[in-house]
Amino acid sequence: MTGKYFGQPVLRLEDKHLLTGRAKFCDDIVIPGMLHAAFLRSDYAHAIIKNIDVTEARKHPGVVAVYTAEDMGDYWKLGPLQVPPPFAIKGAQFNARTLPPIAKGKVRFSGEPIAVVIAESRYIAEDACEDIIFDAEPLPAVIDLEKAWEDTSVLVHDDLPSNMAALVKQESGDYEAAKKQADVVVSHRYVADHVAGAAMENRGFVVNWDERTQEMTVWAGTQAPLPLRSAIAGRMGLVENQVRVITPYIGGGFGPKVMTSQADDVLLPWISMKLNRPIKWIEDRRENFLATTSERDQVHHCEMALKNDGTILGFKDIFYHNTGAYDPYGMTVPLNTQTHTVSNYRVPNFYTEIRMVFTNEMVVTPVRGAGRSEGVFVMERMMDLAARELKMDPVEIRLKNLLKKEEFPLNTGVIGQDFVVGVLDSGDYKNNLEKCIQMIDYEKFRNEIQPKARKEGKHLGIGVVTFTEGTAVGPYEGARVTVGNNGKVSVATGYSTQGQGHFTVFAQIVAEQLNVKVEDVRVITGDTGHFHWGAGTFASRGATIAGSAINSAAVLVREKIFATAAKLLDVPEDQVELCEGSVCVKGHPEKSVSLGDLAGKANPMRGAVEADVKPGLEATAYYAPPHGATGSGACAMIVDVDPETCKVNIERFVLVHDCGTVINPLLLEGQIQGGVSMGIGNAFYEKMVYDENGQLMTASFMDYLMPQATDMPKRMEIGHNVHPSPLNTLGLKGVGEAGALPPPPAFCQAVEDALYEYDLDLTESNLNPSLLYKFKNEATKR
């Protein structure tokens, strides 16, 4: 489906302001009389608080106030569960331990806030943090996931009998019976390493309580402006229309910015009201690493039963998932993992079990990939293990087991993060893989390039994997489309944007429906004063969920334009059509009315208006899917490994993807390429490392290695398949996280293939030269 704007590589409307430094980000907000906040954070990962002495800090010149939990009285409450527990799953056990706004009695992770200083400048606020004397009795830290699960472990929450945050089992068929029928059973332990979201802009929060209007305005770099608005209003005892949350330009989201009810958004509105002053807090990079959320960090114990011909009979996976010190975001991440192990291959019998554990680490919530990455990693590694055991080609075993397009829609039998049973809606998974191996010249590589390279002493290897990406889950999003008196169109949605290009793709959808220039559509995202319903930016759902709502609203406006114009021009409705920016009578272009004039007519200031007619050329619509739409793809890479230094170069990288109908092919490529860079980062560079005392060893960009330009393959070769989703009018599926999913398993497979003299068995999603060297030394030489 392509049109004048829809489906075209329209250049981004938001770029001009971003490129010239004119776009307004959170730290660019300046309000007269504004104070600045700094948090004192615990250096201990686990400790009993003895005393917090803020006397000197309060005396510090320029300090206006200092607060600890003690000073908050009744306002100190544990935060809400932002995502409800998964009780839609039979037998699910879940222990909610939500975030304290600021530590009271005990600290449970290094970086947990213990005091906040409000001062005339950020410099002074940080100085005064150093005047605070924090006296605590350290306790042993709970870090190892598997040990944390044991009854003998130190407890993160003393009031619980164990560190179990949740236990969720899902199964289909009968795995144990299938195992008995199997010719071969393979089993293994895999680790999905801990990574950061690491958006280039840290979090930020500016709040202004206006005592005279009794209204609070908040600017925040949040992915969830409406949940944030409701949470603040609820806590402050305000009605929702007294709180307006505005998302300015946001420098990347990648998941962690979806969290609300953290120290900043709980404390600062309360303090702003108390002091009757605006307050700004801008997170620094160290705080972002220590105390904003992060993800991955799972240990899987997998087993797969197969026939000799490679047919999967069953799969079993018991995995430990680190939720960190608290679990305010429910089980979105591990449920995604559970969903994505069994969503692209035919697995007739499976048993999967989530053991979610509390540890003395920062809270875990989604990061681009959001549990899918881990699911894809372990399933693809298991396919490689099975292929090796059966002496099959890794591509052959995948082609044998991939679901066929005729099988869709297919009920997966697994309840996902949206609490409904997953249904794979459409796609051609086998063709993704076939196209992928064609693009990378798999046969030629195996038969010519690799043998020749090996003769020359080079270590070239290839890795080929497949994946699905569950996207576009509910509950819903909405939008309002309005034609202005100048003929330009405004769109307002509660969905918030962090660089994805929504200002452009949403405008394309509307421009197509209303036949106006795309630059004449002005989109407002994530401002609760403009649109006050919505759930937030997560699960690659913007284009599909908000986009579908916007499309529906535009269709309604189009209908209203026709009805109003037909009346005005005195012709039947089927006799009018949209010309660019106006409505004309078919065959009589001279008989027309501009959209701007029509908008004026639709809002008469005098005279009788018919009872059922709403004013203006305006409509509001919502879209709620029955379940998510599933994207799919395949990925291949060729690596060149130096066996001495274990340096790995990615020589070629191919990714074939299917996200249904494409709104903007240029932006689609950008989404995939960005995801891939994160996937490559996760595979070989990025890793959050906690030591045994719960100290984060990687709390800066010196130690947490972000992929740089020279780390990336020369070209990301991207192929597209288009199988529109039957779930929505436009045929859309999400794509935001796709690129991040397949690189780690493809990388492992390719490195194993490259170092062919060794019986390498790579079991971690994040390698680095030292770790690879260790794996190599532990392997037997063939």
């Binding site: 302001h17 802009e201 390429q673 020279t710």
Partner: protein
């Protein structure tokens, strides 16, 4: 509070005289004293490159310099390039090749590339990759940034 120090700094051809604390970072001076918010701060430890500005024509990280060190020097920020109505050819190329997504790292990348293209108007792809290696971008995977710089070099050398 420490003693304030008088400085005179030329930023985007305008001379500013201010009294600042000796510890004030140049990045904070540019943003919060002068209100030039196009210079972004991503890490405050010199690793991400978002705050890159030109200091006497050389790209430097403004989060690693104190404002007092800029006394008597000439600074250029992203605001010295084009405006939304009249983009600089480099900015045009970034728009045309989709060289930015969230746009937070972009001003630093532009200010890194401006002197690079002056010195090397016809760079190879590898040279571009090397030139922007010190600027972290989380959104794009760099490929389209490199295409943007290539396109800019063509635009600028053909005088378009």
């Amino acid at each position: 509070m420490a003693q304030l120090i008088k400085i005179k700094v030329t930023v985007n051809d305008t001379v500013y005289e201010r009294e600042v604390e000796p510890r004030l970072l140049l990045s904070d001076f540019i943003r919060h004293e002068l209100g030039l918010f196009g210079t972004h701060v991503g890490c405050e430890h010199g690793m991400c490159g978002a705050c890159t500005i030109l200091f006497d024509g050389e790209p430097v990280r403004s989060c690693l310099i104190f404002a007092v060190q800029a006394n008597g020097h000439e600074i250029k920020t992203v605001e010295s390039l084009g405006t939304p109505e009249h983009l600089h050819p480099l900015q045009e190329a970034f728009n045309e090749k989709h060289g930015l997504q969230c746009g937070f790292c972009t001003p630093g990348i532009l200010m890194t590339v401006v002197p690079f293209l002056e010195e090397n108007p016809h760079p190879s792809e590898d040279e571009i990759r090397e030139a922007i290696d010190g600027n972290i971008c989380r959104c794009t995977g760099y490929e389209k940034i490199i295409e943007s710089v290539q396109a800019a070099s063509e635009k600028m050398s053909s005088g378009k």
